[in-house]
């Protein structure tokens, strides 16, 4: 237990296997380039959390060639299939002026366009690729360093100091995001302050805008989606409410009101049943006489409530319709999708979403390992401090399971199997929490020794009186005999 709590059981390191292909070269120059890039990456000290392995891969080149021919769908599993975190695809292109790099959107592939006829480019190709790779992992490195900061898992020299701006942006991202869970319940609610619109084509709109995003995340968590319509929703009495601004002819909602905007007492936003947190998305349609309703400072219409969900105001268009169509909802859902990515803790860079998701997997696995270890530490301290506490078998079993799972997660991390590491870390975290919050142990804490004293005092008190008196007497006698002898 303590080995984990002290961070001695696992040295967190992230091997990254990067495939390198060069479309029209043989194996040997590709291998040369790969070793050059690898040594360049390892020489620099700034990405010390990662071990880069650059693998020259001619078979991948063929696959990617074929993929290029057969269209974008065929090579979709390229990175994952090879077990590579990233594939660097060097394309010889005589028409380009200088070497350039671009990330593909839905695949972890970095395309590097390179002109072999310009000798300058050939010389700088390896440093260029190295710097591009560094750029991709820089942000993630910062985020993980920030996670590891002030935990026992930090080893000296491994984590460099972060600039305050980076730190604050990472902090903001972390406070905004939900704690990691295996299942999230998404609730999309339409609140109208009058009786209309009373319907929305949410099913269609969700299918169009939210579902693709959820499919991307499906490797990390599962999602359940439900929608509801609530009419005649009123503002909470605790907020001042919107103020009419004569100059812009708009109703302005003050910044101070945003935190109390969601009327928790009256709006039925109860969390979903079953395990996992509920993420709420509220679309609020103000009544005719209070529209347009905007935020006072920014003039915008949506905001995010950290670790709770997102709120958006949709001002009714000129014609008051009973039903919001999927086309009306499209911009709304896109905003919700953005808010959802932020709430799930998706990093802002690199540009490719698939790389962002895989970096999120590493971050989440790390934070779960850290949290499970610290829970273990807390449990160990608790059991040492409260010696009278009875520890049931189930707790011992959970702790064993936690340690086993943590070991596995650590191995998986070191071997680069990040999804399995995440799975193991999640189980470890769950078991650790279960052990710590074992209800029978909580009950034990609230029966301290003092209560037993209250029961035994009526018995022990009267019995102690003759004992004490006799002891006093004996003591005096002893003193008297001593005095006599002297």
């Amino acid at each position: 237990m303590n080995r984990w709590a002290d961070g001695k059981a696992c040295q967190l390191h992230y091997p990254l296997y990067i495939g390198l292909t060069w479309d029209d070269y043989d194996i040997s120059p590709v291998q040369d380039l790969a070793s050059q890039v690898q040594s360049l990456l390892r020489a620099e000290n700034d990405l010390s959390l990662y071990d880069f392995y650059i693998i020259a891969d001619t078979t991948t080149a063929e696959t990617s060639q074929r993929a290029k021919l057969s269209g974008p769908g065929a090579g979709g599993e390229l990175g994952e299939y090879r077990g590579h975190a990233l594939s660097v695809n060097v394309i010889t292109d005589p028409s380009t002026k200088s070497t350039s790099a671009s990330l593909r959107t839905w695949r972890p592939v970095l395309d590097v366009r390179h002109n072999p006829e310009r000798s300058v480019d050939s010389a700088t190709l390896a440093p260029f690729i190295a710097s591009e790779i560094r750029k991709i992992y820089e942000h993630e490195n910062d985020a993980i360093s920030h996670l590891l900061r002030d935990t026992p898992f930090t080893t000296s020299g491994q984590v460099e100091a972060l600039s305050p701006e980076v730190k604050s942006s990472l902090d903001a991202r972390r406070t905004r995001a939900f704690k990691y869970a295996a299942t999230y319940h998404l609730t999309f609610s339409l609140f109208t302050s009058s009786a209309s619109p009373s319907a929305w084509e949410a099913e269609q709109a969700l299918e169009d805008s939210i579902r693709p995003l959820l499919d991307r995340f499906s490797s990390i968590s599962e999602f359940t989606v439900d929608t509801q319509v609530q009419l005649l929703a009123s503002f909470s009495p605790s907020i001042a409410g919107p103020q009419y601004d004569e100059s812009t002819r708009e109703w302005k909602l003050q910044r101070t009101d945003l935190s109390g905007f969601v009327n928790a007492a009256e709006w039925p936003l109860n969390p979903g049943i079953g395990s996992g947190p509920t993420i709420n998305f509220v679309l609020f349609v103000p009544s005719e006489d209070q529209s347009p309703l905007v935020l006072a400072e920014t003039g915008g219409n949506s905001w995010l409530i950290p670790q709770w969900g997102g709120v958006q105001i949709l001002n009714p268009s000129g014609k008051q319709s009973e039903k919001l169509s999927a086309a009306d909802l499209r911009p709304v859902m896109l905003t919700f999708a953005d808010q959802l990515s932020a709430l799930l803790g998706l990093p802002d860079s690199p540009a490719s979403p698939s790389l962002r998701i895989s970096s999120l997997v590493r971050e989440r696995a790390t934070s779960l390992v850290l949290s499970a270890s610290s829970t273990l530490g807390a449990l160990a301290r608790l059991s040492l401090k409260l010696t009278s506490i009875a520890i049931p078998d189930s707790v011992a079993k959970s702790v064993d399971e936690t340690i086993l799972r943590l070991d596995q997660a650590c191995h998986d991390l070191r071997d680069g199997r990040y999804h399995r590491a995440l799975e193991n870390a999640r189980t470890a975290e769950g078991e650790a929490e279960q052990a710590f919050f074992e209800p029978s142990m909580v009950g034990q804490v609230y029966f301290p020794e003092e209560h037993k004293v209250a029961v035994y005092v009526p018995l022990l008190g009267p019995m102690a009186v003759p004992l004490v008196m006799a002891a006093l007497k004996e003591f005096r006698k002893l003193r008297a005999t001593k005095a006599k002898v002297a």
Partner: protein
């Protein structure tokens, strides 16, 4: 037209209407003055959702919070009741909705659930307990029964199972919580389930102050699936609130609710009575129908309509008022109200965004017309009592009376808690016209399961049947008693289902009639709850005394009085006493001084010796050197 048929008719038509418009919501208020200045108000709120939308979690009028619970616990059909008070059949006649929307005093719940019912049931009661702020989580296995004959599903469960490809058989579970006091905290979540949440439509009349001040009230939530033959299923939730208000009491002002006598000049005396003097007066009743209005009885007018369904359903009327045709009714609203008047009932449709109120002034009606509104006789009268005395045994006695000229078959359901142990050999059906056809009985298991007793009885025309049995009262464990143990333990109401027969079917009343007896209060032998502390103190004292004496016997040595040396402290005490005696002698006077001196010395000696002896026995403080 009868109250019950009027209510059953729309209920029977509902599935036909909603087959087309699947997301729908309707509401209806039925008002009917009853004798003795009472007013019956029946609120009905019905929402539906297509089953496909329910299964994919897209909700419009159907409440999401309840739907989640139903999905999670695999509940196909749900009935939940909150009830308070007693329907007075003698003066109010037959029950509204044929008793199908009321429950026993407290909370009652029954549901049809998928195969793994035990776990689902526990989840269901716990979730509903949270949703409705009721103690439903106390409906454990000891309070749950599985009735066989008493309830039948209202929805089309078999078709639903086919559509869902469900293989398991649905099971019925039933639980009652008679001790629960229904109050405002249950009404608020009830209203939250409605699309208009009590802000518009007839639900704006529902106010906890008035509702729970009623003579009788019951709130019900009923969820049932309705499948058409084509395999399209919809899920319907019907929420109902029925109450009987005492008009006079609900109209009293809120700031001074205590009724005060009128000044004598405003009272008309009943001249038909014989008077002995001129200073007495028998006040005459107001006579005729009492005047009332919606806003005075419910505290506020209706705030606009809650019509959500779109154009098609606006044909229906929101309010039905059942009064004789010559009764004056004034409609108070800013806009014109569509209304229809038929013999004996008037219907109104609520305005869109305007208040609505009905005012019925005080009016004396001719007796002939009120005769047309004679109360319908209920199919059966039932009452149940506890008999016997003492803390050990008791008896149950139920009286069923069939007032009709035809025989009736009934199902009588009792679910008794485990601490009431019936002696089944004493179960007896007495009276002229009773015949027991079937009996279902599940014996109790201590602390695990209560008794379930179901009887199918035929009662002959115009006859009375008595059901009696004896029982034994169990003695509970110390921790099983509630804080108010001496109040007694609530025994849930018996549920009686009157099966339809040929005679009633001819009158167009094809459905079952339900009635419930009042719940009972059973006194159990209760212990003195300070007992454990008394026991601790008493035994501790005894042990300490015994220990002290034995300890002293072992430790002390016993010596003669003469051998006791005068210790330092004893000397001080001696000198003090000497001084006191001398002062006393001086106060008494010099005459006896000499004798006193001598006597004083002798006394001192005795006192000291006595003190020493006592100290030796008692083991208390004092001279330390006396036992050398």
């Amino acid at each position: 037209m009868r109250l019950s048929t009027l209510l059953t008719l729309p209920a029977a038509l509902l599935p036909l209407i909603y087959a087309k418009e699947q997301h729908s919501y309707t509401e209806h208020l039925h008002l009917k003055p009853l004798p003795d200045n009472s007013l019956y108000a029946g609120f009905t709120f019905t929402s539906t959702t297509p089953y496909t939308a329910y299964a994919s979690n897209h909700f419009r009028y159907f409440p999401r919070s309840l739907a989640q619970i139903l999905q999670y616990t695999h509940t196909a059909e749900l009935h939940l009741r909150f009830a308070l008070g007693r329907w007075d059949e003698e003066s109010w006649g037959s029950r509204p909705r044929r008793g199908s929307r009321e429950g026993g005093n407290g909370v009652e719940l029954w549901a049809w659930m998928d195969a793994d019912a035990e776990e689902g049931w526990s989840d269901l009661v716990n979730s509903l307990s949270g949703l409705f702020c009721a103690s439903l989580n106390f409906v454990d296995s000891g309070k749950t029964t599985r009735p066989v004959l008493s309830f039948e599903p209202e929805g089309t469960l078999e078709e639903l199972q086919e559509t869902r490809n469900g293989t398991g058989e649905l099971r019925l579970l039933h639980g009652m919580l008679p001790h629960e006091v229904v109050c405002t905290e249950n009404l608020t979540p009830f209203l939250k389930l409605l699309p208009c949440k009590g802000k518009a439509g007839i639900s704006s009349l529902l106010d906890g102050h008035k509702l729970f001040d009623a003579n009788w009230q019951t709130m019900a939530v009923d969820v049932r699936p309705i499948c058409s033959t084509g395999g399209d299923c919809i899920l319907e939730i019907q929420q109902t609130v029925d109450m009987v208000l005492d008009i006079e009491r609900s109209m009293r002002p809120r700031e001074s609710p205590i009724p005060r006598p009128l000044p004598i000049k405003d009272i008309t005396c009943d001249e038909t009575k014989g008077y002995n003097g001129h200073d007495t007066c028998y006040p005459e009743g107001p006579g005729g129908e009492m005047g009332w209005s919606l806003s005075s009885v419910f505290g506020r007018p209706i705030r606009g309509s809650c019509a959500l369904g779109g154009g098609e359903e606006e044909e229906g009327f929101d309010i039905t008022l059942k009064v004789p045709s010559e009764r004056t009714v004034e409609v108070i609203s800013e806009t014109a109200i569509p209304q229809s008047t038929s013999s004996g009932s008037r219907a109104y449709r609520l305005p869109k965004d305007a208040n609505f109120d009905l005012d019925l002034p005080h009016q004396a009606l001719e007796s002939s017309s009120s005769g047309a509104f004679a109360l319908e006789q209920p199919p059966l009268y039932a009452s149940r009592q506890l008999t016997g005395h003492g803390a050990e045994r008791g008896g149950m006695h139920t009286l069923l009376r069939n007032p009709h000229p035809y025989a009736q078959r009934i199902v009588y359901l009792e679910s008794l808690p485990w601490f009431l142990r019936p002696y089944m050999h004493t179960l007896e059906l007495s009276g002229a016209g009773g015949k027991m056809e079937k009996m279902f009985y599940t014996p109790l298991l201590d602390r695990q399961r209560g008794t379930h007793l179901e009887l199918l009885i035929e009662i002959q025309p115009r006859s009375t049947v008595e059901i009696t049995y004896d029982f034994e009262k169990a003695i509970l464990r110390y921790t099983e008693y509630p804080p108010d143990a001496n109040r007694g333990f609530d025994i849930p109401a018996a549920v009686i289902r009157v099966l339809p027969n040929n005679a009633t079917q001819d009158q167009g009343q094809g459905r079952d009639y339900y009635l419930r007896t009042t719940s009972l209060l059973l006194p159990l032998p209760t212990p003195d709850f300070s007992m454990p502390y008394n026991v601790i103190i008493l035994t501790s004292t005894v042990i300490a005394l015994g220990f002290g004496s034995i300890f002293n016997l072992l430790v002390r040595s016993f010596v003669l009085v003469e051998e006791v040396p005068v210790g330092a402290l004893a000397g001080v005490v001696w000198r003090l006493k000497d001084g006191v005696a001398r002062v006393r002698g001086m106060l008494k006077g010099g005459g006896v001084g000499k004798e006193d001196d001598g006597g004083g010395v002798v006394k001192k000696g005795e006192v000291v010796v006595g003190g020493e002896v006592r100290k030796v026995n008692g083991g208390g403080g004092g001279g330390g050197k006396k036992d050398t």
